[in-house]
Structures are given as structure tokens and as C-alpha cells.
């Protein structure tokens, strides 16, 4: 569902990429000191909420942002083995743009966007279905897909700022937080994390990339990732953001306790629904 977000309009006095950079950075003076009890408290809340689980489940319950969205949206369908359904055009576009974003952050340039993106997906066996889908396109379908990739790539290159190396940018970082003795594992792969680990003040920002339109659930995805990072590192991120390659706009916000608590409640509700307790 499209929503109105707090995307900043381009400033007439700054370049588009500077606007994005400013949105990612936020107001450094507002970065809070870390509450040393926060991460432990959130973890205890989750553990208490999962205490109804038996000692061992047949297999660990993996909880991702997509599963949260599907379960709480009432359209979760258990599929044996498959991590996701059949590949669609929008899913393929998202996978290609994720790969191109990673290339821009790492190398700073693209050569041939569609080929670069497909080569990046080919080298990882897990995306072979996406590659097959794109390779099966022909005629106008292929032209439309290529045009969309090239359009979004041009937006990406013009709007995405060159990050200072001191921000320590790292892409597609996997986070896996086991709970309830490993029966439940909260998992996520964050498109981009910047900032050195906290030494007392919130210092890390998480950025997600979306190739589609802004949706209500995008912010909830970010809060879930903020919760994962808090549980993993002991410190919440200072900022979370979604960068939309379709428009070049960014939706960014500071992280506060209320967002993290809301995410804890979503996780517990979803696990309850998945295990028939709600």
C-alpha cells in the first residue's frame, strides 16, 4: 500500500546526493547515549514471551521480516522448503537492484547495469531462480525490464552519495539472533550498515534498498532490523533509512525505544500466530 513518507524534497541549494547524505546522517547531536540495560531488557522480554515453547521444536523457527509481514498480514502460507514463492518481475527487479546497490557502494561504478546485476546474482547459487526468470524474458518484456533497471541505476548513481571510508560501509550483513535456546531465530540481511560499533553512544545506521514504491511496512522492516542489531551488538542503531531506487528518495528516522518495543511485540505476535497460540 503506498504511503506518504517523510521523504525530503530536493533542496535547491544542495545536490541530490547531499540531501540523501544529510538524511542518512540525521542530527549527530541527537544520537543518544546507550542505555546499558536496554538490549538485555528487550531480550528478556522476548525470552519471557517465548517461554511457552516446548524444549525443542522439530526445527528452529526462522523469523524474517518477510515472514513477519506475511503472518501479521494474514497471508502466510507454509511452503515446504521454499524460502519464497515463484519469482515475479518486481522480485527480480528488487534482487537486481540490491546487487547493483552493493556494487555502487563497493566499487563506486556500474558498467552494464543488467549484466552487472545478473552476474552478481549468478555467482551466488541462491538467486539462480531470479537469473532464470530474467533469462526467460524476451521481446517487450525483456526490453521493459532492462529499461527499468537502467532507469533505476541512473537514479541510483545520481542520488546515492559517495560515503566516507571512515563510515566503514558493509553490505548485505547477515544477523541471526537465536532465542528460546535456539528454537526461534530472528534473521535478517541488512543491505547496508555504516558506522563503527558503539562505544557508549548510538553510532550505527542501517539502510535498506527498495526498488518498488514506499509502503507502510517498510518502516516496520527497519524497526525489526534495528531490534536485531540491538540484540546482536548490545547497542541500538542511531538511525534507520530506506533508499528508494525508483525515485532516489530516502525515508530516514532516528531509532527510539518505542520502535524497538513495537518490534518486540510484532515478533511475539507473529510467533504466537505461527505456533497457533494467538
Amino acid at each position: 500500500m503506498p504511503v506518504v513518507t517523510e521523504v525530503r524534497p530536493p533542496s535547491p541549494t544542495r545536490s541530490a546526493s547531499q540531501d540523501v547524505l544529510a538524511a542518512l546522517r540525521g542530527d549527530p547531536t541527537r544520537r543518544p547515549d546507550i542505555d546499558p540495560g536496554l538490549a538485555g531488557g528487550l531480550r528478556e522480554w522476548l525470552e519471557d514471551g517465548l517461554s511457552f515453547l516446548p524444549d525443542t521444536l522439530p526445527a528452529p523457527l526462522m523469523v524474517s521480516k518477510q515472514k513477519l509481514r506475511d503472518v501479521l498480514g494474514g497471508h502466510w502460507v507454509e511452503t515446504a522448503g521454499a524460502a519464497r514463492g515463484p519469482v515475479s518481475g518486481s522480485l527480480a527487479l528488487g534482487a537486481v537492484m540490491d546487487a547493483l546497490f552493493r556494487q555502487v557502494v563497493t566499487l563506486g561504478h556500474l558498467e552494464d547495469p543488467l549484466n552487472d546485476g545478473l552476474d552478481a546474482l549468478r555467482i551466488g547459487a541462491r538467486q539462480s531462480d531470479v537469473v532464470e526468470y530474467v533469462e526467460s524474458l524476451c521481446g517487450e518484456d525483456l526490453t521493459r525490464f532492462r529499461d527499468e533497471v537502467e532507469t533505476q541505476s541512473a537514479i541510483l548513481l545520481s542520488r546515492w552519495p559517495k560515503l566516507s571510508p571512515s563510515w566503514l560501509p558493509r553490505t548485505q550483513e547477515r544477523i541471526a539472533v537465536p532465542l528460546a535456546g535456539g528454537n526461534v531465530v530472528l534473521v535478517g540481511v541488512v543491505d547496508l550498515i555504516v558506522g563503527a560499533p558503539s562505544t557508549g553512544r548510538a553510532s550505527v545506521a542501517l539502510i535498506e534498498v527498495k526498488s518498488g514504491s514506499a509502503r507502510l511496512g517498510d518502516r516496520e522492516d527497519l524497526w525489526f532490523y534495528a531490534l536485531l542489531e540491538t540484540l546482536r551488538s548490545g547497542a541500538p542503531p542511531s538511525r534507520v533509512a530506506t533508499f528508494y531506487t525508483r525515485t532516489g528518495q530516502v525515508d530516514a528516522e532516528d531509532v527510539d525505544d518505542a520502535r524497538l518495543i513495537a518490534s518486540v511485540q510484532r515478533v511475539l505476535s507473529a510467533v504466537g500466530l505461527l505456533l497457533g497460540r494467538a
Binding site: I34, P36, G37, A39, G40, R43, A99, R102, Q103, V105, T106, L107, E111, N115, D116, G117, L118, D119, A120, R122, I123, G124, P165, S166, L168, P169, R170, T171, Q172, E173, R174, I175, A176, V177, P178, G182, V185, A196, P197, S198, T199, G200, L231, R232, S233, G234, A235
Partner: protein
Amino acid sequence: MVGTSISPTSLPKAASLTKALVAPPSSTVKLAELTTIRRVWEEELASTFHGIQPASRIRIDAYRLHRSITGHTESERPFQWTPWTARRRIGLDSVRACIANPRVSPVQATHDTVDRLLRRAEDNGGREDRLVEWLVGLSTGSRAVVEAESVLWATQLLCALDWTQISRPVIGSDRSLGGLGRVILRGRVDVEVRMGTSRHRRPDSLDIGLAETALFVVMAGQHAPSSRLELGLPALTIALDDRHQSVPTTVVGWWPASGRALILPVDVDLLLRTAEAVVEAIRCEIDRLPRRLHRTEKLKPTVDPSVDQRVAS
């Protein structure tokens, strides 16, 4: 064999991990104990290979030890370079460069490393190692994934420790050890720290010094019951090797995905249990060998239970 975890909420985490890594050991395995463990290990190997002559040496590394401990019986896929198998080797080079010059970032150091490997391929006219051959054949899109994975790995290691508190770390200190000409043990060590020297008396009454070392290992996936023995492997590989005159005192395993760390003091119990697991892994590998190999006798089904007693005595 005991171990402790670091609370994920103790901040800054790098300071806690570093403190655990370089903390003075509560005790050190004695030279006499090391000698006994080596003797027991050689006896176990001799027994395991009695009547068997494999065509090539059996390699036991963390991957094969994990497969054996967890009972994974599906056939092993042949090794191939991927961004995930290449990232550590490139990442270690990047970490060395960043520590040597703190103004260099992981992104720059990784890019320089890949560039250097590619230039070496040009200079050597194709006579290169497999990683370089593989890198040369990659397109820009694929190479971007390799660099991105390597940057991620290097950044995780750089951020894991407080390098200002570590004196002369050895980055990437993997050890290999042969046994009876039929086995190679491969211990993966991402950071090795020399802690000091402990004095030991040899059987001929001469005193010698053994360098005490602490080991740091970046672990993939999630912490599991098998992790202790997997972390014991690099310690065992060093302990069994009498060429370097060193003795491991602590192994710290760190899982960047979960932020969890496990600190294992190296004691006789850890070394013996790991040795038993390694012997079992060797048996698993022997069972996988083609039947045409020179196999004249059935293997013993279990590890000799008297191993502990022999060392204790």
C-alpha cells in the same frame, strides 16, 4: 573443558573481547602433558590406519570436523572458489593493511588486494594459484560481490577487537600438521597473539621456554554444541606440533552474525576431546574412501576410552 560467553550487552564489545583474549591464562598445559598427548595421538593414528594405506593424505579441517561431529553423511561437494570461500583470504590481507596503516579503510584495502592479485596474474603470465585464476575470469558484477563480501568480513574482524590493546598480532596464522604421512590437520586462526613465555622442564632435566599464544577465530553460522571441539582444532594443531615451541592458552571464537563469543581456556581436557573427535573424523573420511583402497582390516568402532586415563596417569 569449560568455556564462558561474553554478554552481548557488555559495551564496548571490542574491549570485552580483547580483554578476554589477552587475559593471563589461569593455567598452562605442561610440557609433559603435551608430550603425552602427542604420544597418545600418534598411537591412535597408528591404530586407526593399521592395514590401511590411503592413496592421498586425509585432510581434517574445521569443515570436515564439523561434518563428523554433527553426523552429516551426504557426499562432500568439491571445493570451489566463491565469494564466500574467497572472502577470508582477501579479507585477511585487507585487515593486515588496515592495521599497518590505520588511515586505510577496508574498502580501499580490499580493492588494493584484489588489484594486486590481478596484476600478479598478468605479470606471471597465468602461472598463478587457483584463487587468482578464478578472479581473473570474473566479470565486473561478479567481482563486485567478491570485494563486497571481503570488505564485510574484514570490517567485522577489524571491529571485533581493540587493536590498540594487542601487541604484535599475527593476522591469519593458520597451522598445518602432518601425522604418519597420512593425515593433515588444518587449524584456522584469524588472529594469534603472543602472550609471554612459560618455563618447562624436559625429561632430560633441561629447562625450555614455550611461547604462550592466544587464538581468535571468526566463526560462521551460529554457535552450536559442536563449536567447542571446532575451536579446539586450532589449539590441538598447535599443541601437537613441537616445531614451533609454543603452547596455546586460550581460544576465543566469535560469531559476528549473532554477536556471541565463546572463550575456551586450553587445557588437557579440551585437547584430548578434540583429538578424539579428530580421530573419529579421520575414521569417517576413511569410510568414505573408495573400496578399492588397500583396506585389510576393520576399524575399531570407537575411540579407545582409556585415552583420558593414560594422560591422567
